[in-house]
Symmetry: C2
């Protein structure tokens, strides 16, 4: 594997993602990975490395500019709300990352997937709602609400939502609204709810945050990772 | 594979299930399969055959007596309500099937799973709520409501619910109540919701019923079958 900093732009904003390439040339499929609200951090890079080891070139997207990593949760929230508050800007930022990936040698534009964690999961879904050419989208403990739920009609991707059933940041009402949104569309979607799992269930560092809302859940981490791999296999078959 | 009629009893009621044995002796794991409300029919036997081909001895349980297959939907409803109306009888009937399976040569009582379809999915869950020694339970488009939701505390099995998100027979409120029931317990549970799937989504014959509430869904059928196999592998590891 090789890991390089990939510089790209969204208008005037200079973005710095991390592109991890597998040893062997893949079949053209490639993945853009949207990190959680903190930005380009260790968990996202580690997950991208695991995907690259399986043969998928993976770009850890920079949503904020200059590859910034938030200092703390307050800073992360500030960065995140800066994008979530303007859906067009949010979508354009995500789209710039997908475009940067698709310009790489050997990447087939018909074999792209977007995955994401927490805010990044919501970003992957929002990118799909924008009508982006995606074969698959996977959200892990992601936000599900959209400012434009009607745009589900634009989704081309197969959608998999991996949701912690005890996640207080994505409460049952938000899940129900998402299922209703999807149900009104023709989207090929699935939602896996993992009992006992709270926010950030894929991230072992979540236990250090000292909040019952956040926590690692080994079973949910493994099951959701396996579910993602199956969907990618299906979407790229 | 060999398929034989297995006679067993629940008190005075003589039951006739179908036991399908793999060619090769398994590792001791075995599965009881509860059919849909119609009773011991072709879909259940076909699914049991696929499990046996993978090495799992599988008993298609008879819940009604004499291996009866309902004449029509009205008859199926009558048979089903006869059991659902008396939860102790319902659980005892399910338990008799599990006991009959566990008495077979080579079956390890610590490596038992129960799966079921529609009413049979609810039966597998109800058997788990009774405290039965099960390593895994999988419900496909099953009823989720229980007359004794508090008994979730007795569940020893890993639970997987494969649910059609558009199933009018298992509406969102029933799913929400189930998730709440499970959430109050320490059960290792998962619920996979499949977008667009209605009742009986695993059964190709469902399309012949001429009701929009019932229908086959190939993607949900394949995905739920794969999800079950992974849970069995995990539970029997």
């Amino acid at each position: 594997m090789t890991s390089t900093t990939l510089e790209y732009r969204d208008g005037d904003v200079r973005l710095k993602g991390i592109l991890i390439q597998p040893e062997k040339r893949s079949t053209g499929s490639a993945i853009v990975l949207f990190p959680d609200a903190r930005g380009v951090g260790a968990h996202a890079i580690e997950c991208a490395g695991r995907l690259a080891a399986l043969g998928y070139p993976t770009l850890v997207a920079d949503l904020y500019g200059d590859g910034v990593l938030a200092r703390d949760m307050a800073h992360a929230a500030e960065l995140m709300h800066g994008l979530r508050g303007d859906v067009d800007r949010w979508r354009a930022r995500a789209r710039a990352s997908l475009e940067a990936l698709s310009r790489q040698d050997g990447v087939d534009r018909s074999r792209l997937a977007a995955i994401g964690y927490c805010f990044g999961g919501g970003t992957a879904l929002e990118l799909a709602r924008s009508g982006a050419p995606l074969a698959a989208v996977v959200s892990f403990h992601g936000v599900l609400a959209s400012p434009r739920p009607g745009d589900a009609a634009n989704i081309k991707a197969k959608v998999l939502v991996c949701h912690g059933a005890a996640d207080p940041l994505v409460p049952p009402a938000e899940v129900a609204a998402f299922e209703e949104e999807m149900g009104l569309s023709k989207v090929d979607w699935q939602l896996n709810a993992y009992g006992g799992a709270v926010h950030s269930f894929t991230n072992p560092e979540a236990d250090n945050l000292g909040s019952p809302a956040f926590g690692y859940n080994k079973a949910a981490d493994r099951r959701s990772w396996a579910a993602m791999l199956r969907l990618l296999k299906e979407a790229f078959a």
